[in-house]
């Protein structure tokens, strides 16, 4: 083997994949990125990496990349390449026509957590100053919107209370509905380091994930609960804590409202939530629930990390509130090694929710219905703003099917593959008159698009990401954008095309605008990030260099609140037609809908979505390992290869949604979280049957539009 070539240039930037936000050095030879090596001064990863960030980067100049804007009038026509100006003019004209015909609320926009903070801010500005409505949403709607709602309701801030390193001070680590070693690998390694040092581990997850059981990382208590029973189990742990008086009275009296705690104590103290009642319901040994509760309460420093396994339920927000209540009851907030921390899925999910890309909120979690806040934005933007909350993404699709929502500008998202109840989404897409998609490739959603704006990858632009520990890090341009414009420039031109004159020389000015308008971001700026390497918000006069741990002295509203978290079973029920429960998730080597990772060497590990099921469920249906099976629910059907896995419990099956052709989301239900409409990906009643070898079962999904 000859000596390797030496890279010529090295640029420090941030990984665009998961919510850990690792610092990397992108190295190039001849202007092409040849390797990404972890940055030792990256405060989230300290020189570590995972397969996606470290190696799966060459999707950025994959032949599939679209490099020219394209337009077409009907989705069954071929694409027509046009200039940027023609594309913007066409898009703006269509949007104005549709607003004039169907009303200003008939159009909307969706930002992406794979884009930078600046780009997300511009997308919500596009809706508010371009479309003059609040129909703006972001993809954390379908993953961590319950976090924003649930944590704001209890603790007052919808973000992680700790920084990642804080886990090195934890004595007890509770991981609920998350598999850090697969979904947030570099943080997973930090967690495993702490567990090897002796911290105790509690895991709440229907599957025996690698986090729950792998060499040198084994859960002291693994509550492998039936999907959908999170709130019941968490309330049952609370039941043990209040009945055995394991709560931290001093903390509650000092930092919360005692009267609220008493009401909460009454609710969870009820026999309804005793482990002996909830155990059988959730398929758990009551003694395990007791043990888990005692270990968590005893601490002395217990920390909670949770993921989509908590949020993606019809009681997602309630589940998050349960975690907030537990931490408040046991005083596990405001110091190192404790806290309640969402493991945010995508690179900039936290950015997505901080920067006002919500139908009901401006940047910094402030309501659009708040007169004073709206006035501050109107003064800065010199334009009147819609005072009413807009449509959420699921509402937009429902409205489209109802014929009252006709156009959408989607940046870096692929709802046709990632959103649940795929048939419904396809129907919604078909009924719109102008779908504008800004992405790197022709995605599933692009099959229904009329305007395609070729986007830029994170290697081709400047900006910032906010990771799952509120850390804002720099994204630096390593190579020129392949299509000629950086994503933020495209959205600025879209806003101009809608008639609102807007200009920025550099994304740093956009961040300055965010700082100007949001108290939590006041001190944030590119120069500060350059100096410190990265900054955790809130960053303002009180915390000029950012904040590592939230809630040390005060909660945002002064005191925290206990919410009454009554368990309401999901209406998704198994019956003899659909006896099994399907839950969905992610795998290490593929990322989200796989748009990027499917176009890299990662397919070596995981080339197709497979259905994991327990041996007994397989044998009952004559299914062998590797057989093709149909997965049918009340909402749709798809075909997958079966894999017999010891990770599963009887009655529960699991798959991922990384590959378009597996259409996993054709099966998931349209049930969603009561507060945020976050879809209930994690619980769908299904039946699994072997595909008869002779005849291929006809796909009952309507024929695909030609791309």
């Amino acid at each position: 083997m000859p000596n390797p070539r030496k890279p010529e240039r090295s640029v420090v930037t941030t990984c665009a994949y998961c919510g850990v936000g690792c610092g990397f050095k992108a190295e190039t030879i001849g202007g092409r990125v040849v390797r990404m090596i972890p940055w030792k001064e990256g405060k989230a990863n300290h020189g570590h990496s995972c397969v996606k960030g470290r190696f799966a980067f060459d999707y950025y100049d994959h032949p599939d990349r679209v490099r020219k804007p394209m337009v077409r009038n009907r989705i069954d026509e071929p694409w027509r390449e046009v200039t940027w100006d023609e594309a913007f003019a066409h898009a703006a004209a269509e949007l104005k026509r549709i607003q004039a015909t169907y009303g200003s609320g008939s159009v909307g926009a969706v930002s992406s957590s794979r884009c930078t903070n600046e780009e997300i801010f511009l997308m919500q500005k596009f809706a508010r100053v371009g479309l003059r409505n609040n129909n703006i949403d972001n993809c954390s709607r379908i993953c961590h919107s319950p976090t924003q709602f649930g944590l704001s309701a209890t603790l007052g801030a919808g973000a992680a209370s700790q920084h990642f390193d804080s886990i090195l001070q934890a004595d007890v680590i509770l991981v609920a509905g998350a598999n850090p070693t697969e979904g947030h690998p570099v943080f997973g390694s930090l967690m495993k380091r702490r567990i090897r040092e002796g911290a105790r581990l509690l895991v709440i997850d229907p599957r025996r994930t690698e986090t729950a059981d792998s060499p040198h990382c084994r859960a002291d208590v693994h509550l492998a609960l039936r999907p959908g029973t999170n709130v019941a189990v968490l309330d049952s742990m609370a039941h043990v804590i209040v009945r055995e008086r394991l709560y931290d009275e001093a903390f509650i009296r000092a930092r919360c409202h005692w009267s609220e705690f008493e009401q909460w104590m009454q609710l969870v103290g009820d026999a309804r939530y005793a482990p002996e009642t909830v155990g059988p319901e959730a398929g758990l040994d009551p003694e395990d629930i007791r043990r888990a509760a005692r270990i968590y309460a005893k601490g002395p420093r217990s920390t909670i990390y949770y993921g989509l396994g908590v949020t993606e339920h019809s009681q997602g927000s309630t589940g998050v509130m349960c975690l907030g209540n537990l931490a408040l009851a046991c005083g596990m907030l405001g110091r190192e090694g404790v806290g309640v921390n969402p493991l945010r899925g995508q690179g900039n999910v936290q950015g997505g929710s901080c920067l006002g890309s919500w139908p009901h909120m401006f940047t910094g979690y402030r309501f659009v219905t708040d007169e004073a806040v709206r006035k501050s934005f109107e003064a800065d933007w010199k334009i009147a703003l819609d005072p009413e909350p807009g449509l959420r993404l699921p509402n937009m699709f429902d409205a489209a099917v109802a014929g009252t929502f006709k156009a959408i500008y989607i940046q870096g998202e692929d709802p046709v593959q990632s959103d649940p109840n795929q048939n419904h989404i396809v129907a919604a897409m078909r009924s719109m008159e102008c779908v504008i998609v800004q992405d790197l490739y022709l995605t599933e959603t692009a099959k229904f698009a009329h305007v395609f704006l070729p986007g830029s990858s994170s290697l081709e632009k400047n900006g910032t990401f906010t990771n799952a520990e509120r850390r804002v890090s720099m994204v630096r341009k390593v190579v020129e954008p392949l299509a000629g414009l950086e994503d933020w420039q495209i959205t600025v031109r879209m806003i101009n095309a809608m008639g609102y004159p807007l200009h920025y020389d550099h994304p740093s000015q956009i961040l300055d605008e965010v700082a100007r308008l949001s108290p939590a971001y006041q001190g944030m700026s590119f120069p500060l990030i350059e100096r410190l390497g990265s900054v955790q918000w809130p960053c303002n006069a009180d915390a000029p260099e950012g904040t590592e741990v939230l809630h040390e002295k005060q909660f945002p509203r002064g005191r925290a609140n206990f919410m009454l978290t009554q368990y309401v079973p999901t209406t998704e029920r198994t019956d003899d037609r659909f006896p099994l429960l399907l839950t969905t998730g992610r795998i290490l080597s593929q990322y989200n809908v796989g748009t990027q990772t499917r176009r890299t060497g990662n397919v070596a590990w995981y080339a197709e979505d497979v259905l994991d099921l327990h041996r007994s469920d397989a044998e009952a249906r004559g299914i062998q390992d590797g057989d093709q099976v149909t997965v049918t629910s009340r909402y749709g059907e798809t075909k997958l290869r079966a894999r017999i896995s010891e990770k599963m419990n009887p009655g529960v099956v699991y798959t991922t949604f990384h590959f378009a052709q597996s259409k996993a989301n054709a099966v998931t239900s349209d049930l969603s979280d009561w507060a945020t409409n976050c879809p209930e990906y994690k619980v769908t009643a299904v039946e699994v049957a072997k595909v008869p070898a002779r005849t291929e079962a006809p796909q009952r999904v309507p024929a695909e539009a030609k791309s």
Binding site: M1, P2, N3, P4, R5, K6, P7, K25, I29, V34, R35, I37, P38, W39, K40, E41, K43, H46, G47, H48, S49, C50, V51, R54, F55, D58, H62, D64, D165, L168, Q169, T181, P185, V186, G188, S189, K192, R193, R196, P215, H216, C217, E336, L588, S589, R598, R599, T600, G601, N602, V603, A604, W605, A607, E608, F659, A660, Q661
Partner: protein, 243 residues
Amino acid sequence: MWSELRRLRDDVDYGTPPRDGAPVSLTVDGVPVTVPAGSSVMLAATSCRKSVPKLCATDTLEAFGSCRVCLVEIEGRRGFPAACTTPVEAGMVVRTQSPRLQELRKGVMELYLSDFPASEVPGGWSELHEVMAATGVTTSPYPTGQNHLDAPVDESNPYFLFDPAKCIVCSRCVRACEEVQGTFALTVAGRGFQSKIVASQGERFLDSECVSCGACVQACPTHSLVEKSLFEGGYHRAQPPQA
């Protein structure tokens, strides 16, 4: 509170993890330096720009003490202790350069080069090449004997390859997989001269428990574990399955 992670610098390799202890003062080559208790002599030396050659030591991993190129002399202590595994003590007087130390380092490097492909010495830019330059040793005086020069290259992983011929069995990769990543996929198999790095039970990297996090490639001081993308044409785009 967590110096071993937070006080890592990108432009310098202290050789052993920074510690949190109380300050300890000593001198290295006559230069006074103060470092936290629990730090190694190697870290102290690097902190006052008197860095010692190293191969099995790097500051993201606990010290191992196997390569023996970092030997130093310490007043009042017999023999030649390894800088990486010797904790600092107040008032220590360390010398990192002397004819005797040069001789011993040269002896160790000659042994390494007796089992390293001579064709890879010119043009290389790995840490091993840097130590070759520091010790002035680029050839082996030993007549050709047992070696690993024809060991098969493992190209199973789509992103990096493992060329055992250039492996000096310093175990940085094994320790990175253990301490940094926590997967425990790599180990040393065999004993003595037959010691070699293997994945899982002597399987190809791709078939082993390796999760391809790249920590071992990052830790390898000889480019034995190295990104395929750094080779001309050696790395061809992976064909995605039909979308």
